[in-house]
Symmetry: C2
Subunit: 351 residues, 2 copies
């Protein structure tokens, strides 16, 4: 085990490591990059739905040049402080289709291999919303697109190329027991398979996954519970509680932008129940093993940096909600809570 001893705020800083227009919590060589908002259309009131790094703006400029050469319509309107979809891309279906063509071509020609290359490609569509904090609706719920917050959908791996906010679900299956007169917390903790594309061998939340386009948060949770932990849907539906969300703006070591929202769920096992009744079993090969760890062990492994960063902060949120981390025992309490519920400086993307 590593000899590191990270504070809880350190763990937050590793995950929420981007500040727009002011000093980042952890300095990065990418901090100086000028990020340009991506808008749905040229109209002034059209919302920003992503943030583009210079290398992407450059690539989109070259895409436009190619289109002109091939007498095809250009996909982008590129101004100094704003990139927009061209006006012919005026429906969700057209934007989705054009982005599929673009991203598959990038994948197949070896562009941005570390993000959307063949080994990173997920074959899973994620929704993009006009207001990323608004309702998560879908054409299947209302065919009148003008009434939807849904704007189009995009291959999961490509979201980081465009700085698009993505949504996931994370669950802790835990038990609180009286041990030597003290309340003690135990959590089912998986180790990620060594073959995972991201963070192989790291510790994770009991169950976690992304929310595919068109699926509700809770249905995604139920699906992941079955796929990752072999939990039966009826058990999940009976015991699971939605308990909030966390949000943080993560930049990868390679500089890619991943603003993320994770909806948080709990299964609180009753104190007198045999925890093995809720023992998760690896199903789809994404998890190597599950351990039922006590709080001290979990804290030690968190501080050693052994958890996947965003899974570590989901546990911090749990420790706060259960009263283990309090305003009186954690000096960084307010920093941690406010930073775990950030808005990605979104209101300033277009300023």
């Amino acid at each position: 085990m590593s000899a590191k001893s990270l504070s809880y705020l350190d763990l937050v800083n590793i995950c929420d490591n981007v500040h727009i227009g002011r000093k980042s919590p952890i300095l990065s060589p990418f901090d100086s990059e000028k990020l340009v908002p991506l808008h749905l259309s040229e109209e002034p009131e059209s919302p920003a739905i992503g943030l583009l790094r210079p290398i992407i703006v450059e690539q989109l400029t070259s895409e436009n040049e190619q289109s002109r050469k091939n007498a095809r319509p250009e996909m982008w309107v590129i101004a100094e402080n704003r990139v927009s979809f061209s006006s012919w891309l005026n429906t969700a279906a057209k934007r989705t289709e054009a982005m599929i063509e673009l991203c598959e071509r990038w994948r197949d020609t070896g562009l941005f291999t570390d993000v959307c290359g063949p080994k990173k490609w997920r074959s899973e569509m994620y929704p993009v919303y006009r207001d990323p904090f608004g309702i998560r609706d879908h054409p299947s719920t209302n065919p009148d697109e003008t009434k939807l917050n849904y704007a189009f959908e995009l291959e999961r791996s490509a979201c980081a190329l465009f700085g698009i906010i993505t949504y996931g679900v994370h669950m802790s299956v835990f038990q609180e027991k009286e041990v030597d007169g003290e309340r003690q917390l135990f959590i089912w903790v998986p180790t990620r398979a060594k073959t995972k594309q991201t963070f192989p061998g790291f510790l994770d939340n009991t169950v976690a996954g992304g929310i595919p386009s068109g699926m509700s948060a809770f249905d995604s949770m139920v699906k992941e519970c079955e796929e990752e932990a072999s939990y039966e849907p009826k058990v999940v539906k009976k015991y699971t509680r939605a308990v909030g969300c966390i949000s943080y703006f993560f930049r990868t070591a390679a500089g890619w932008l991943q603003p993320e929202v994770e909806f948080v769920y709990d299964i609180a096992m009753p104190p007198d129940v045999d925890p093995t009744l809720f023992r998760p079993k690896p199903m789809d090969g994404e998890v190597e093993k599950f351990e039922f760890l006590d709080q001290n062990e979990i804290e030690a492994r968190m501080r050693a940096g052994l958890f996947k960063p965003n899974c570590g902060i989901v546990i911090i949120d749990l420790l706060i909600r259960l009263g283990y981390i309090t305003p009186d025992n954690e000096p960084d309490f307010l920093q941690i809570i406010t930073r775990l519920h950030g808005r990605f400086d979104y209101d300033r993307w277009s300023l």
Copy 2:
């Protein structure tokens, strides 16, 4: 009862109604006011600890003139985009003393009567911190002031004059019961006395109050529980859990600035316990009566605007944490959570 039907986001907007440098969620005639940060000293790295309205900057300018006339040292250094304490006010004790003299004089001469007049004066000192999201320490914990986050203390009623962030505690005493096969929530809800200085006759959280300078959050909670609800300290200590905090930037109808942090506590009564065992009893005259209301009644009264605004959003936070408001049944879920854990645009006060 009012015929209003406010959404949960409306209730958040009423409470978190200030955005710095961008459009406020509810337009106010005060939005156009230029707010100037108040710094501890003229040194560039000295942190902002408050925000001053033009009327206050004007008054501080006139205070300086009076001091000059009376051959006394000026309290303030007033620049265009920054007001600072003068360099002679270089300790917490000196700042506290000078501010007492100033605020008591304003009270006694009838300045800002609606905020710090004799009827609004609380005779209670609140702490002011260098970093408002940092540790809430105090000279009693460390006599070496240079090592403290504590900067000075200020009469409670005067904090709104200087836009200083204040800290409180709010608790819900509740029970979840199975009613007709459905989980149902009941909360002990007080009606504020008609004689209260603020929000008389409004509904409140079971127990709530401010955190006086030098007191821990939990000790304040225990004290308020005794004073407002006649709960015995040993009962409170046994059953209470710290469960997080909310933060929001409130501007009063008269334009005064009240950025607030409320530490949140729960007492979750077991489902099989007689709720009258936890019946709060009015003690200090601040509460008219307590009612044990079910969720439907609480929701109806919230939507009718009958709760004190910040108490309403503490209940929204509770409904989220207990899984009644979810990402799938509340379209404004993400707006609500991120706005309830705001940072007051603090990182931009000095920009």
